[in-house]
């Protein structure tokens, strides 16, 4: 039976160390919505999403109350729209109508974000995919909740440099199109290599074509919990350090697994994967940079940062695999600079540079993430 210390440990993680289930993401396949008539296609997509996900938010909130663990976001990911809309959309503007439909459907069911306004062009680009990519700046400027992603390379096929060049322009156009709102469009756009089909985290979530009709994926987080656990083990050797990260990752992942199974049961949708990613927020004590500093760095960006991050990522994955047989998505540490209090401080002090960040991306699951670049001075 559970004892009082275990109960207190769990509640302390939730109350003081920001342990939360970051997202329940329902993946919905739209492949059977394909239609050569644009209006009919939009109608089918809207109906499909609003029927499938109608209980998602309510069930998420119910589970949060039952277990006393916050579930911060409820989201939807859909089949890459370049595939679904290819038949009906002849121009970039046609794709924008689908973005608006997705936005409307997301509003109707009450989710925070809907991902899958995507194109997978890691080897070549079809006309439809190019049209979708060209529509991204307008689509993101004219919707609130739609997230977009483009996969431009994979380990097997290498990089599609035409797509890379095009995406460079699209990122700038998106920033320009949403300049009145801090260029927020760019925060809803991801350029990927090796994009996983089952990632629950935004903005890069989409429902891959290898997936089932509908599926529940859960993303768990908790950088604060790892940091506090390491604080308690201060001064110990590397073995203890690694062991502590693994044990903590295990505990966090188990909470995600429980929530995912429960959501899958209550919604009648199969359970997909758990993604344990240490995803920071600007809140104090919810920072990946602080974990790296707890490991022993003077500041994030100092010599040793890449090694510490590689070790953190490795141990998080190992702990996660032990806790759940269905680990997927990105699983690792996120390093979104402007969302992490410790990284913001490091940049302000000049400790963290873009070159260092580039090195860091080589050892963790994400690339350059949430970095604000000032416009050139006139």
């Amino acid at each position: 039976m559970i004892n009082i210390f275990e109960a207190n440990e769990t509640n302390q993680m939730i109350d003081r160390e920001n342990l939360d289930v970051r997202t329940i993401t329902m993946g919905i396949s739209l492949l059977d919505c394909c239609d050569s008539d644009l209006d009919a296609l939009n109608e089918k997509i809207y109906r499909r999403i609003t029927t499938r996900a109608k209980d998602l938010v309510a069930v998420g909130e119910q589970i949060a109350t039952d277990f006393g663990v916050p579930i911060v976001n409820k989201r939807i990911s859909v089949t890459p729209i370049a595939l679904v809309g290819g038949c009906a959309c002849k121009r970039p503007e046609d794709f924008v109508t689908i973005a608006k439909t997705l936005d409307r459907a997301a509003d109707e069911v009450g989710v925070n974000f809907i991902g899958g306004y995507s194109a997978l062009v890691s080897k070549g680009m079809t006309a439809a995919e190019e049209n979708l990519i060209r529509s991204i700046p307008r689509a993101l400027a004219e919707t609130e909740k739609v997230c977009s992603s483009v996969n431009v390379g994979s380990t097997r096929t290498g990089l599609n440099m035409d797509a890379v060049r095009l995406m460079g322009r699209i990122v700038k156009e998106t920033a320009e199109a949403t300049k009145e709102r801090d260029s927020l469009g760019c925060a809803k756009l991801v350029v990927f290599c090796n994009a996983p089909d089952d990632n629950p985290f935004m903005a890069g979530a989409f429902h891959g074509v290898t997936e089932a009709d509908a599926i529940i994926n859960v993303g768990v987080s908790g950088p604060g919990v790892v940091k506090e656990a390491l604080k308690a083990a201060r001064g110990a050797d590397f073995e203890v350090l690694c062991e502590t990260i693994k044990k903590t990752a295990f505990k966090i992942t188990r909470v995600g697994q429980l929530v995912a199974q429960e959501a899958s049961k209550r919604l009648g949708v199969p359970f997909g994967i758990i993604d344990l990613s240490l995803a920071p927020t600007p809140a104090v004590g919810d920072s990946v940079a602080e974990i790296l500093e707890e490991i022993g760095l003077e500041r994030v960006g100092a010599p040793g940062t890449t090694a510490a991050l590689a070790m953190l990522n490795d141990q998080v994955k190992k702990g996660g695999v032990m806790a759940s047989s269905y680990v997927g998505g990105l699983s690792g540490a996120f390093i979104p600079v402007s969302e992490d209090r410790g990284m913001i401080d490091a940049v302000t002090e000049g400790a963290l540079t873009i070159e260092k960040l580039e090195a860091m991306t080589c050892v963790c699951s994400v690339g350059l993430d949430m970095i604000a670049i000032p416009p050139p001075r006139p």
Binding site: M1, I2, I4, E6, V69
Partner: protein
């Protein structure tokens, strides 16, 4: 049997257990186990309860216990047992 765990943490005062137990009895919640300690003047209690025969939906009890805690001046959490077993048992 569906079990829940109620934890109570806060400054010690007279009648905390009495009031929590009175509430549970009124709602027909059976207490299976209680453990309690005082750490540096702070009251710490955990109860394992059976909520099968409870007269109220679980969500409502969670809310009412939280409110009761605010009246007494302690924090009361009521959670399904599974979250603790998932985390602490292999």
């Amino acid at each position: 049997m569906s079990k829940a765990i109620i934890t109570v943490v806060g400054r010690d005062t007279v009648g905390i257990i009495a009031r929590v137990c009175a509430y549970l009895a009124e709602k027909r919640v059976n207490i299976l186990d209680i453990s309690q300690t005082i750490v540096q003047g702070y009251f710490n209690m955990m109860m394992i309860v059976d909520v099968d025969a409870a007269e109220k939906p679980f969500e409502e009890m969670v809310g009412e216990l939280k409110t009761l805690g605010e009246e007494i001046g302690v924090r009361i959490h009521c959670q399904r047992e599974e979250i603790f077993t998932a985390m602490h048992r292999i």
